[in-house]
């Protein structure tokens, strides 16, 4: 960061200390809440609140693909649908899928696909439906986070969860997880999706203008954010199997337990 920009920002703002619009630290995520198994009729589902984003994701499959000509004989197909509800933004938007929806659907598909073993499901499809109930910037990242939890909740074999988070430049500073205001007023935005355990980036987009150093810093910061998201995803998946009333502690008598391998129909 150069000195001149710092002076400018302090001049513009009357307070001495620079702060983000919602008072967060530059490397702080918005409040994150994930829940799994929220749609009983879906094979897997998840609900995420990332700041004011509210997204619900349902996963169906692997199932027979229709129309059949779109299926692949040697591998399964992942089909994601990103859709913003008409009331998710102000002013109301048309419920018809827009160019932007189509593009983000594709981007989400490409970000999640490396984590799946699609070759195990030839001629089948895994459908992921992400519905944006309320949008507040960074919906594609939040959708990926929820979709990864929903896929794991559906019991679909995965190499790793997919965590996603954006970083960007706002008022000359590199900040993590931009909200809608920062996204629009800021100089730049870099959404990243990341496989935390494999240490691979599966989505990298960039919008706006930044120097090479700033971009590198952004990506690093976004990956740090992804790691924080990963912990929340893990917690969400485990929370579903919390303690059941009257159940014994699992460590107590593992020997008496009927295990799956031994269970056989008479």
């Amino acid at each position: 960061m150069s000195k001149t920009t710092k002076k400018k920002t302090t001049k513009r703002k009357t307070s001495k200390k620079w702060a983000r619009v919602d008072g967060r630290k530059p490397d702080e995520l918005r409040p994150l809440h994930i829940e799994s198994g929220v749609i009983p009729n879906a094979d897997g589902s998840a609900y995420i609140e990332m700041g004011r984003n509210k997204i619900i994701v349902g996963v169906y499959g692997p199932r027979e693909m229709h129309p059949k000509r779109l299926s692949k004989p040697n591998s399964g197909v992942l089909r994601c649908r990103y859709h913003m509800a008409p009331f998710s933004v102000d002013p109301r938007r048309s419920p018809a899928p827009s160019r932007r929806d189509q593009e983000i659907s594709m981007v989400i598909t490409d970000a999640i696909e490396p984590a799946l073993f699609l070759e195990r499901y030839p001629r089948s499809v895994i459908d992921v439906y992400a519905e944006i109930i309320e949008a507040d910037g960074g919906t594609r990242c939040a959708s990926i986070n929820a979709a990864a939890v929903a896929l794991a909740d559906a019991g679909i074999p995965m190499k790793d969860l997919v965590s996603s988070c954006a970083a960007g430049k706002y008022e000359g500073k590199i900040v993590l997880d931009l909200g809608d205001y920062e996204d629009k007023k800021g100089e730049s935005d870099v959404p990243v999706a990341y496989l935390p355990k494999i240490d691979q980036v599966t989505l990298l987009q960039m919008e706006g203008i930044m120097t090479q150093e700033e971009t590198e810093k952004c990506i690093e910061l976004a990956i740090e954010g992804c790691k924080q998201v990963y912990e929340a995803q893990k917690e969400a998946l485990k929370k579903k199997y919390g303690m059941v009333e009257g159940a014994e502690e699992k460590e107590e008598e593992p020997d008496e337990e009927e295990t799956v391998e031994e269970a056989e129909e008479e």
Binding site: P62, A152, D153, G155, P157, M158, K238, Y241, E258, E264
Partner: protein, 236 residues
């Protein structure tokens, strides 16, 4: 367990793991729901990890049905093609039932297939053949197989079927004894229930639901037995 093995295991047996969790570092056989990457073993599903002498596996808590030869399944006829019925068995691909696997005698080319099975019929069938690239092949020739005439179907997560059956059938035998219903468990997560009266059937539905939500906990059979007795006493 030797000292060396203990160092390599990353979890305790029956800990909950999520996809991508490192389960074991080093040489060991990979059991169910695990995969090997760069010489280490990772989980690929949400489940309970289980370490044994020579292998590490994950007991899946959620999962879709993967057809295996010999499985008993409850399916629904969804289409009739040339010489075969297409049966939905809740798997990633639909299953095929040919005439020769449906009737145990010779037939003519003008054979009316709808007389044996029609679209919408429910069948209890066995998977007799399978290819990873191809659809499962079913057979309804055999004892307790064939078209279903009465009862209703209950759906549960296929990965929880083993818990419903229990160790050597302990759970299902107990439920059969207590509820006096006819129960056919399809490995594909569809359970066919046929009771003498509505009350008995409702009892089964309640119990199966409880098993499904508490499948990952210990001492389940005893708890279910108590639960059944409680409901029965309430009724009296």
């Amino acid at each position: 367990m030797t000292k060396e093995e203990k160092l390599s295991t990353k979890f305790e047996t029956r800990d909950i793991v999520v996809p991508g969790d490192l389960l074991y570092e080093g040489r060991i056989r990979t059991g169910e729901n695990t995969f090997r990457r760069e010489g280490n073993v990772y989980s690929n599903k949400v489940g309970l990890v289980s370490y044994s002498q020579d292998r590490v596996s994950v007991i899946a808590l959620e999962g879709t049905y993967t057809p295996l030869v010999g499985d008993l399944v409850v399916g629904m006829v969804i289409d009739i093609a040339l010489g075969q019925w297409v049966v939905d068995i809740n798997a990633s691909t639909d299953a095929i039932l040919t005439i020769t696997d449906a009737i145990n005698k010779s037939f003519r080319t003008n054979f009316d297939m709808t007389k044996v099975l029609d679209v919408g019929d429910v069948v209890v069938a066995k998977i007799v053949d399978l290819d990873r690239r191809r659809t499962p092949i079913l057979s309804i020739v055999g004892r307790e197989l064939g078209k279903v005439h009465e009862g209703f179907i209950l759906k549960i997560t296929p990965s929880k079927i083993p818990r419903l059956i229990g160790k050597k059938g302990s759970m299902i035998n107990m439920i059969l004894r207590e509820t006096r219903c006819q129960i056919t468990i399809g490995q594909n997560g569809r359970i066919l229930i046929n009771g003498r009266n509505r009350e008995d059937e409702e009892l089964v539905v309640k119990v199966v639901h409880k098993i499904e939500t508490e499948a990952h906990t210990s001492g389940l059979t005893n708890r279910i037995q108590e639960y059944l007795r409680e409901i029965k006493e309430d009724r009296k």
